[in-house]
């Protein structure tokens, strides 16, 4: 299989701020590859280098076999880029935005309509509406249609689901899944850990450095300890009491429970008394499978 992206030792600083350091990774053709990390991790800088919009200080990245610095003109025709901030012209209508993007890339909406029909059909009834007046979910669909209209071989999506509600996020990932049949490689970033599960492989990124690259499943399996899910009626008291317990290594709230690790990977029988003495009631402790966010927290603590 050919590499759609191959990067080695990429670094970029802005003044004294080091945005990314020594980033090396590769993406296979037709893969959905996710960069998962918080704001300020370096995701946008990396994507701007890959899309030829920024020059790296050190290292290189080959995209679709072309060098991002020397072959930038050829490369730009093959990339569809959806930046994090709104990429649409607010004062153009839905259909005007789409045909504008098609024209810029020397093609027509008609020519590549099959590629976007699944997505665009949702907003086509509103094609005369100005882009600025669309709802968040509709803007997102239009922006994706615009990024796809020139039939790129690589789609780069910078936080397409940030600030979007849980329903629209789920729909968006379903649309990305459908693009697989067109053999488009997709590079996507997100601060939502749960979205990692929708990718073929992910890179966890923090403070400009990659912490891990693998399939989501293998990243989860990388969790180094037994993980326990602790539930009780008094959630805040439970967290503080767990932290005070000598055998506790970590205790983090996760949904309706607290995920905890203990020395020796066992639940010391003294835990129940300790919690009871701290006014925590209806305690249950069960071993649980670590998720991607558990692993991310573990890796963050190691590098902190």
């Amino acid at each position: 299989m050919n590499n759609a992206i191959e990067s080695s030792g990429l670094s970029k600083s802005f003044g004294s701020a080091r945005a990314i350091r020594n980033i090396s990774f590769s993406v296979d053709e037709s893969e959905i590859f996710g960069f998962i990390g918080p704001d300020g991790a370096g995701k946008t800088t990396l994507f701007r280098i890959i899309t030829t919009l920024l020059l790296p200080d050190e290292g290189y990245v080959k995209v679709l076999g072309m060098d991002s610095v020397t072959d930038y003109k050829k490369l730009r025709k093959e990339i569809g880029y959806m930046p994090g901030r709104f990429s649409l012209y607010q004062d153009l209508s839905v259909e005007e935005n789409l045909s504008f993007y098609a024209t810029v890339f020397g093609t027509t909406v008609k020519e590549n309509y099959d590629l976007i029909s699944d997505i665009y059909s949702h907003i086509e009834p509103f094609k005369k509406r100005l882009a600025g007046q669309l709802s968040g979910g509709m803007k997102q669909k239009l922006a994706l249609s615009c990024a796809l209209i020139h039939k790129p071989r690589l789609l780069v999506l910078d936080e397409p689901t940030t600030g979007v509600d849980a329903i629209s996020r789920a729909e968006f990932w379903t649309m990305l899944g459908k693009l697989r049949k067109h053999n488009i490689t997709i590079l996507v970033s997100t601060p939502y850990m749960d979205e990692a599960m929708r990718c073929d492989r992910v890179a966890l990124i923090q403070k400009g450095e990659i912490l891990a690259v693998d399939t989501p499943r293998k990243i989860m399996l990388g969790f180094s300890r037994k993980l326990f899910s602790v539930k009780a009626t008094e959630k805040y008291r439970l967290i503080t009491a767990l932290r005070q317990f000598p055998a506790t290594i970590t205790a983090y709230p996760f949904g309706d429970s607290v995920h905890a690790t203990f020395t020796g990977d066992i639940v010391d029988p003294g835990l129940y008394d300790h919690l009871k003495n701290n006014g925590v009631t209806h305690v249950s402790v069960n071993e649980t499978e670590a998720g991607i966010e558990d692993r991310f927290l573990e890796l963050m603590n190691k590098t902190a």
Partner: protein, 244 residues
Amino acid sequence: MENQVIKVRNLVKKFGRFVANDNLSFDVYEGEIFGFLGANGAGKTTAIRILSGLSAPTSGEVIVAGFDANKQSEKIKKNIGYMCQKFSLYEDLTVKENITLYGGIYGMSKQLIKERTGELLEKLNFRDYENRLIADLPLGLRQKLAFSVAILHEPKIVFLDEPTGGVDPITRRQFWEMIYETATRGINVFVTTHYMDEAEYCDRISIMSEGRIVALDTPEQLKKQYKAASVEEVFIKIARPVVN
């Protein structure tokens, strides 16, 4: 939990023919963490603007911290805290200057501002940062500071509008521990979020869809009622609008 901090009855807000809030009625109590959920465009922001005295209801009764949103919106503003993800602190002012500015806006005395500033910097472990510009602080620290500033004047209620968007998972959890701590001090925390796991941390949640509240209960009860494993499942089942 008998002390109401928010009382809303038949709240309607219209913009022209568009009904943004369609007959909302609910109560929020002292010391409660109340999650205010809904899809984009469901009407959450409109409701929060009314509850914080920034916008008047078209009709209905809205009492916040003991004041009537129809007649006493200025009093409401002084008695609540507000923080949102997009803007809360002035980037070109230092940490200390921001605290002083907000203290002044909330009408606190110089002496009290000085005391609280010291406490706040101590508590957040921020002594090294007090003279730094906000622009130079990492996002996680900014959000924690913004929250602390929003409750500097010890309001009865604090509104947090997507406070944790984009922050790393450790900071996100530390932030929620600050929320818990604030609630145990008797301050009501009224919070919106797109992270459905955070909804599970709330005492009660409401879910809005197309201007109406379609569900309001504890996370446990809602999961039971909709036979769902998580709040996210409940949300996807009931918050879906008919058209986009």
